[in-house]
Symmetry: C2
Subunit: 148 residues, 2 copies
């Protein structure tokens, strides 16, 4: 049963705090996310199509800096968001965690079965990168009664 309605938790910025279950649902239902990683000490950000599988974020990557970072088990950040321009409301879910170049045959089989075809499929993206979630947070901007 749903809990009784009541005030939702907010953070020190007045944003509604989304619980972990809702964060994972939003990651799962949002087709495009963005991954950030560090290469040579500098930040990089890329849009990705992703899959959530048993609490881990997976995305396909061609060879490149992303894959190199994953091979080194670097920390990555991942983000999904959604917004409504009319009401100036929105939400975002942020993930941080260690990445790895996925080599587990069982996991790779499950990912293949998920049938994720990255939209940018002109070049085959053979490699899967996995982010193990270590930090998960979600916020929603409450609606405004009147826009100014």
């Amino acid at each position: 049963m749903d809990p009784a309605p009541g005030p939702r938790p907010v953070d020190h910025q007045g944003l509604e705090v989304l619980d972990d279950r809702r964060c994972l649902e939003l990651i799962e239902s949002t087709p495009v996310g963005r991954v950030a990683f560090v290469s040579s000490g500098e930040p990089h950000i890329l849009p990705v199509n992703h899959v959530l599988l048993r609490g881990r974020v997976h995305f396909r990557s061609a060879t490149g800096l992303t894959l190199l970072a994953a091979t080194r088990h670097a920390m990555m950040a991942f983000e999904v968001d959604g917004h409504d321009e009319a009401t100036r409301t929105g939400w975002s879910v942020l993930v941080r965690g260690t990445s790895h170049f996925e080599q587990d045959e069982h996991v790779l089989g499950e990912l293949a079965a998920q049938d994720l075809h990255p939209w940018a499929d002109q070049v085959e993206r053979r490699h899967w990168v996995t982010i193990t979630i270590e930090e998960l947070s979600g916020r929603r901007i409450p609606g405004h009664a009147a826009a100014t």
Copy 2:
């Protein structure tokens, strides 16, 4: 006059390359972007409302890691994207460049005149961070004749 129609440039992944003018137009017309930066050697990513002014990206920030990075003139990455789930097409524009905590009174006046109210306005975000664009690139995923 528009140039004669012809094949559009594509990159090695088969993605359509967007020229700088189009990239800047897309940054300007997209209300929500994401900024990535490095703190203590680790990547962080945050959604922001931004303003493009004379080829620089500006966003407001409360105090925090983002502002600290800007005060140190750290490299930041910035991204906007858009997509259409039905056709599995999309585009993204990526920016990288040095950030700074904006202190130029003239620029601050212009930004105030732009009337940007960040959506998450429960806490006043007093500080502007500026990213001077050093790398700019945009890609579009060509439409698919038939989804498989």
